[in-house]
Subunit: 399 residues, 2 copies
């Protein structure tokens, strides 16, 4: 492992890596073996492994309490959750959503047999606004699917007012948002529903998993009956069902992760502060703080590169970092509207989302989460700073 001082210290120029091992960009918070064993032995004793078991009920009750929402409906994963919400509203039709999102947001609409309509986002917040929605709104749009990014959020008041003006419901992909707060209140109760991800790369994890939050009793009853072929709780007639069940083992891990949520968020915030100290004054390399919330889970650490100033493109910086065992992610890249199958099925969006295109070429995510230490952050900061100082020299080695 080497401290970078000049071009020759970089791996791309023949130096040794800044980190001895590859650092994942995600979170991968996981309980200790001892806690896991205790939870799993209980499941073994009960011989109740899945389908609305006692741990799932406890998890849902605790999520409802913690996030001050009437209903938390846990599911196999967030994509299945989004499919369920979309399908609870409509059998067919169009849903308006941003092109700047994880591909799963749009794919959940497509696999449900609905048609995505893509809008652009605001350059400073990376989120949808009434203006970006209005520029893309078209006949046949039956719902808005907002996306809350990076542990931040949209301006819920403005989006709600816009949705009301169009007389369409709005629901949210809040995969990034668990634990972030506005005015002391956690995300979860916005729009008709919010869908959270409990994937291993999130601050609240159940390996695979997710949760739909809603304050609408009727929608909750629908979703609980849609979650599996045989309803549970209040039995209502549903348009369609699927298998969206979360197993007891998933619920057990999520419960432990919920116990640790404040600690995970505090760790992320400490790491983010350390990053900000390291990276605060690099010309052409700026930190994107989550917007729209008072307190963020800091699930992502996103930076924006201005290559005219930095003299390195985002992709060049990512390449330099990767060689040092730092897997910084180009996220999101490409924009969903430029991914398969949308780029060929809906080519009309290729020149309609300039801000999305710009963000997709400028943003870089640095590793944060359970496996990242402040020592890692110092080393990554050293690499970025020195790469910036030696931009021109390094560029020659990238060709």
């Amino acid at each position: 492992m080497s401290e970078k001082k000049g071009v020759g210290d970089f791996v791309v120029a023949g130096g040794t890596p800044a980190l001895a091992e590859i650092l994942p960009v995600g979170q991968l918070y996981f309980p200790s073996w001892d806690r896991y064993e205790a939870a799993m032995r209980d499941i073994f004793d009960r011989r109740y492994y899945t389908n609305h078991g006692p741990l799932l009920e406890r998890l849902e009750a605790r999520l409802e309490e913690r996030f001050s929402v009437r209903h938390a409906i846990c599911v196999t994963n967030a994509t299945v959750g989004l499919i369920m919400v979309a399908k609870a509203f409509f059998r067919d039709g169009k849903i308006l959503l941003p092109g700047f999102t994880f591909v799963g947001t749009a794919q959940s609409v497509s696999i449900a047999g609905l048609e995505p309509v893509f809008c652009d986002v605001d350059a400073s917040t990376h989120h949808i606004t009434p203006d970006t929605l209005e520029a893309a709104f078209e006949g046949g749009v039956r719902a808005l699917l907002g996306v809350n990014l990076w542990g931040g959020a949209v301006d819920f008041g403005a989006i709600d007012a816009y949705a009301r003006s169009k007389n369409v419901p709005v629901f949210y992909d809040s995969a990034h948002g668990i634990g972030s707060q506005i005015g002391g209140k956690s995300l979860g109760g916005n729009g008709l529903a919010e869908v959270f991800s409990f994937h291993a790369t999130k601050v609240l994890g159940s390996t695979e998993g997710g949760c739909i939050c809603t304050n609408d009793d009727d929608l909750a009853a629908l979703l609980r009956n849609m979650r599996c072929g045989y309803g549970m709780g209040r039995i209502v007639e549903v348009p369609v069902t699927t298998n969206g069940r979360m197993s007891e083992a998933q619920a057990a891990i999520a419960l432990m992760s919920l116990d640790d949520l404040d600690e995970h968020i505090a760790r992320n915030q400490r790491l983010a502060t350390a990053y900000e100290e390291e990276l605060g004054d690099i010309p052409g390399f700026s930190v994107c703080k989550p917007t729209g919330v008072d307190s963020t889970n800091r699930q992502y650490f996103v930076c924006e590169i201005d290559d005219r100033v930095l003299k390195l493109t985002r992709d060049e910086m990512a390449k330099i970092l990767k060689a040092e065992n730092i897997y910084a992610r180009r996220y999101f890249f490409p924009g969903v509207h430029r991914s398969v199958p949308y780029r060929s099925e809906f080519p009309q969006y290729l020149d309609r989302l300039p801000t999305t295109d710009a963000l997709c070429s400028k943003l870089l995510q640095l590793p944060i989460g359970a496996l990242v230490t402040e020592e890692h952050v110092r080393k990554i900061g050293n690499v970025v700073r020195e790469a910036s100082r030696n931009a021109e020299g390094l560029r020659k080695h990238l060709r």
Copy 2:
């Protein structure tokens, strides 16, 4: 616990239950804690919890070898697997499938935005035939979705020939079929794909889970890329993606269950033989042996009640058994075409599937699997035999 000798011994007439505790109808085969712990500690050591991990790869390779199929693609659950196969073929259109199946078969078609067309089944095998398919085939049908029931199978040669004559592909819901064999060859390679369930109630279980088997390299590449938003293996362009990932923990349990598969099947076969000895000569109560295979996983023990002979209806027998803590299932009930939303959306099928309707009113499943012993079978046999002998007396207590 009481041996039944007369009406007064039955719980419905004031007696004590035949079984001290409720017996689940399913399988619930699960590894011992020690084996589970060893597998999970490895996962913890690796810190690799999901997304095409080493256990998933090993599981898929072992399934491919065991079932002599080129590709085994493990998924979150069988419903998601069916959605993926349906969507791999078509973005929209109609799929022809039997009304006599688990509701998830049809719902996987509906949630994918495709339209189910229902056909009837054969009264003796409970399976589709070229005749039942032909009676329902209509314009716009783009694929056949066959269902293999009870550890048995359709006549694959006849169905394949029919599909070829109509120039449409056929794929199978083989949720019941893992380990069943024809001519020494396991199910898995029939049609364009077969989808198996690894739910806890199956002989091969991963709590929740499933697997798509196919010999078609192109379809396999499609499905592997559809399984998650970021492809794995051979990268191909896909019409749509979802999150169908099986986690490492699920894969670990499935691997252990695969080790035990022969043992599970042998246990089920022993239990079935014991049931057949107990129930062999009850007028109006006959055992439905799985058809179309040479060797069955005996995942279900299905009986047919002729109420004119037995003097008890299927529902009356189920009620008597339930009072004795024997949860015999009315499965499938109702037929999918009579379930929500199909009964109102497609009312044309309400009078078109007479054999399905008859089977739905006559079949009863008795408990089989990991938690059932030969002692249980003897007690259940005693209840059924004595209920049959005391039918008229018991009937008075059911009103």
